[in-house]
C-alpha cells in the first residue's frame, strides 16, 4: 500500500504541473495586475512607476520565460513569485496560513456533513417512503436548493438576534459573525476554546449544511441499492440481527460510493468555502483567491491552484486507500 501511495503521489505531480501551466496562461490573459492596481488613479502614476511595476511582476518577459522563472524559483527556493499587491508580501506564507485556516473550516464542516449525511441517508433508506423519509428528503432538498451565501446571511441574522437575547444574562455575545478568532485571544484555555468555537459555529454550519444535503441523497440511494441486494436478503434469512445486518453488511458496502463522492466533492467544498469565508471574513483559501482575482495577482492565483489541487489529489488518494478498508476484496500492490 505504501508503494501504491507513493506511485499515486508521483502521478499527481504532472497533473499539478499541467494544471499550473494552464492556470498561469489563463490568469495571464485574463488579468493585468499593474492595470488593476492603477485603475482610476487621477492623475495616473508616472511612466517610470508603471514600468518598474511591470518589471517587478516579470511582465516584461515572454510568457514561457515567466512560467519557467516561476517554476524554477518554486523548485529551487520555494519562491511562489512576486505579489501584485506589494513587494513585501510573501505569497508562500500567505497561502500557507490561508490553507491552515481553510483546513480548520473544511475539516470541521466535512466531519459534520459526513455524520449527518450517513445518519439521515441510512435512516431514510431504512424507513423508505415513511413520514420520516419524506421529511428528511424535504430538508435535504431544501438545503440543496439554498445557495451558501443565502444560508450564511440567514445564519448571521439569526446569530445577531440570538446574541441580543442572551447578552443580558451572559454578559457577552457568544456567536461571532466575522473573523476566525478574536485578536488578541482571551486569556485562559477555556476562554480561548470558547472564542474559537464562537467564531467557528456559523461558517461551519453553513458549509456543512450545503454539503450534507447532497451527500445524504447519495447515501440514501446507495443504501437502498444495498438493502435490496441478494446478500443482504441472505444475511437476514440466516437470522442475523437487523442491527448487525445494517451496520456490518449493508452500511459498510454502501459507504464505498460515498467515499468516492466525498473525495470528489473536496474541490466543491473548497469552492463553497470561497463564499463562506468571504461572508464570515475568514482569511482562508477562499479569501486568498478572491483577493488574488481582484488584484489580478497571477502568482497568488497559481499558489491557490497548487494548494487546492494538492488537497484534491490527496483527498482522492485517501479515498482510494479507504476503499481497501471498506472492501476486503480490494488490495493495492
Amino acid at each position: 500500500m505504501f508503494a501504491y501511495t507513493v506511485r499515486r503521489l508521483i502521478t499527481g505531480i504532472p497533473i499539478l504541473l499541467a494544471s499550473s501551466f494552464i492556470s498561469f496562461w489563463l490568469a495571464s490573459i485574463s488579468a493585468d495586475p499593474v492595470r488593476a492596481k492603477f485603475e482610476g488613479r487621477s492623475p495616473p502614476p508616472p511612466a517610470s512607476t508603471i514600468a518598474a511595476e511591470h518589471h517587478r511582476m516579470r511582465m516584461d518577459e515572454g510568457y514561457f520565460k515567466q512560467y519557467w522563472d516561476w517554476l524554477w524559483g518554486l523548485l529551487r527556493h520555494g519562491d511562489f513569485g512576486p505579489s501584485a499587491v506589494s513587494s513585501n508580501i510573501s505569497i508562500g506564507q500567505g497561502v500557507g496560513h490561508a490553507s491552515l485556516v481553510t483546513l480548520r473550516l473544511v475539516s470541521c464542516a466535512m466531519i459534520i456533513a459526513l455524520v449527518l449525511a450517513v445518519v439521515t441517508g441510512v435512516v431514510s433508506a431504512y424507513r423508505q417512503y415513511s413520514k420520516l423519509d419524506y421529511t428528511l428528503t424535504f430538508v435535504g432538498f431544501l438545503f440543496l436548493a439554498m445557495p451558501t451565501f443565502w444560508i450564511a446571511g440567514l445564519l448571521k441574522e439569526w446569530a445577531i438576534n440570538f446574541n441580543d437575547a442572551v447578552e443580558p444574562s451572559l454578559g457577552s455575545r457568544p456567536l461571532k459573525v466575522t473573523f476566525a478568532s478574536s485578536n488578541p485571544l482571551p486569556p485562559g484555555f477555556f476562554a480561548k476554546v470558547g472564542d474559537y468555537a464562537g467564531h467557528l459555529v456559523l461558517p461551519t454550519i453553513s458549509l456543512a449544511l450545503i454539503t450534507y444535503a447532497a451527500w445524504s441523497r447519495f447515501q440514501r440511494a446507495s443504501m437502498l441499492e444495498v438493502l435490496n441486494s441478494d446478500y443482504i436478503r441472505l444475511a437476514r434469512a440466516k437470522g442475523l440481527a437487523p442491527r448487525r445486518v445494517m451496520i456490518r453488511h449493508a452500511l459498510r458496502t454502501a459507504l464505498i460510493p460515498m467515499t468516492t463522492v466525498s473525495a470528489l466533492t473536496i474541490a466543491t467544498i473548497i469552492g463553497g468555502a470561497v463564499v463562506t469565508e468571504t461572508v464570515f471574513q475568514w482569511r482562508g483559501m477562499g479569501a486568498f483567491l478572491v483577493e488574488a482575482i481582484n488584484a489580478g495577482d497571477r502568482y497568488a492565483m497559481l499558489a491557490w491552484m497548487l494548494v487546492a489541487g494538492a488537497f484534491v489529489i490527496i483527498g482522492n488518494i485517501v479515498a482510494d486507500l479507504l476503499y481497501a478498508v471498506l472492501d476486503p476484496r480490494i488490495r493495492y500492490e
Partner: protein, 574 residues
Amino acid sequence: MRARTKRLTGLVALAAASALVVGACSSKGGTTNNGPAYSIGYSECQTKPDTCNTGPRKDGGEIRLAIGKKLPNFNVNSSQGNLVESVEVMNLIQPSAYLFLPSGTVQWNKDLFVDEPKITVQSPQTVVYHIRPEAKWDDDKDISADDFIYAWKTNNGHDTKLDPAGTTGYDQIKSVTGSDNGKTVTVVFDTPYPDFPNIFGQLYPSHKGGDLSTDAGLEAAWQSFFAKPDWSGGPYKISSYDKDAQIELVKNPKWYGADKPTLDKVIFKFITDPAQQLPALKNKEIDGFNVQPNLDLYNGLQGLQGVNYEITPGYTWEHVDINTKSGVLSDQALREAIFDVIDRQAVIDKTVKPYFPAAKPLGSHNFVDIEKPYKDILSKVAPNQGNGKVDEAKKVLTGAGYTLDGGQLKDKTGKAVGPFRLVHTGTKARADTSAVLQQQLKQIGIPVTDTVTDDLSGSIDSKNFDLILFAWAGNPMKSQNVANWSTGQGNNDSQFSDPKVDDLLKQSATELDPQKVYDLQNQADEILTKAAGVLPLYTKPNLHVTTDQFVNIRDDNSGSYFTYNSQQWGVKAA
C-alpha cells in the same frame, strides 16, 4: 492623487448583496427608502460639516472601526501602498502639511506649523514652512526639514528605481532647504505650482531611513518604510498588527499637538467585503465603518438603535463620456442631441436619490457642487443638456440633416445611426443608469448596446467605447483638471480638443491667485460644455457610520478622510 479602488468579484458582490437583502428583510428594523441622509447624531453635518458631532470627551475607551482593505504596506507614497485605507490608518501616526476639512476647506496643520506656510517670493515661487519647536517624532527627534527633503527626493521621479504613486508638484520643485536647525523649510519651485498644499501630505521620519545623500540610501529608506512602523509623529502609535485581521493603535505619549487623544485604543478591522460591515456592527464587533452607500445598506441602518450615520457628498462625480473620435459621434450636433435627450434627474431618481435625497444634477466639469467656486455652467451655456429635452434634441438633429425613420435615426446619407456601445463596470447604480439612458436615447431613434467591462482602464485606454460611464475622484486642488480636458492628455477620455481650452487650462496651472484659477477653469468649462463630449451626472456620496457613544468623529469626503482629526475622538462624556 488617490482614488478609491474597492472592487469585488461579481460572484461575491452578488452573494454579499443577496445576503444583505436577506438580512434587511429579516431584521427588526424593516425596510424603508424615504428616510433622511443624516441620522440625529449627524444631522448638523449638513450645515456644519467641520464641527458636527462635537462634544466633551471622557478619558479611556476604545473604538473599533472597519476598513475595507488590508494594508499592502506602510509606504503610502509608493504606488503599492497608496490606498485610501492605508492613508486612513497612517493619518494617526503621520503629520501632514495641510488638511482637507470635510467642508472642503484647505487648512494648514496648526499642530505642525507655527504659522501658515506662505508664498514669500512669487517668481520663482518660494514657500516657507515654520515647524513648531515641540513637533517631534516619538523618539524625541525633531520633525525637520530633512523629512521634507526626503519626501521631495523620493516623490519627484528622479530616481526611477522608486515607485512613487504620483510625482505631481514634487517634480516642479527646484530645491528644499532647511534652516533654524531644520525647523524652517524653504521650498523653491522651478515652475509655479498653485496646488502646493497638495504636497508633503504624508511625512516620514527621514532619520529612520539611514543615509539619504545617495540614491542607494534613498532606495533603502523607501523600502524600509514598507514595514510596520515602530515610529510615530501623530497622536497614536501602532501597538500590534495582524496583516489579515486588524491593526491596533494606542496613545503616543510624545504627541505634541494641542488636542490630546483620550481613547486608549483605536482598532481598525480589515472587513474586506463592505456588505459584511453592517452585520459586524449589529453584532457589536465593530463601532463604525465608512463606505460607499447603497440602498440595501441604507435600509439596513434604518431603525438601528444607538447608531448614527451620515451620507455626504464629496469630490467624486459620475459622468457619461462620448468618444468624439468614434465615427458619426464626431458630429457635434449628434452629441448635443444625445446629451439633450438624457434626463439626469431620472438617472438620479433611479440610482442615488432613495438614500441621498440632496442629490441633484451636476453643472460643472471642474468643480463639485459643494465647492465655493462651483457654477452651474451647463444651465448657463447649454441649458438643454442633461434635462430630457426630447423635442429640442429632435430639432437639433433635423437641423443637422438627420431623419427619424420608423423609430431609427438615420444620418444625411440614410445610414442608420448606432447602435452605440455604452461601456460601464456593471455596478448596480451603473446598470440602472445604463437602462435609463437606453430608454432615453431610444426616443430619438438611437439604439444602445449595454456593455459591461471588468477592465475599465483597458476600455478607456484603447478608446474601445462609444459612450462610457464612470467617475472621477477629485479633491479641492484644481491642477488635476488640466489633465482631464487638455488635448492629448492621459485623462482626456472623450478625446475632446480645443486650443482655447488648452490655453486657459495651461494658464490656470501656473496661476498662483486661486480666484483667477477658478475663473480660468470656469471659462474653459463653458467651451468644453458646448462641445458636448462629457456630461456630468451627479456627485457620488459616501456613508459614514458610528455608534452614538463617540464624539468628534465625522466623515471627511474632501481628501483627508474620516481619520483626519483622530486626536479629537473620544467617548462621549456623560
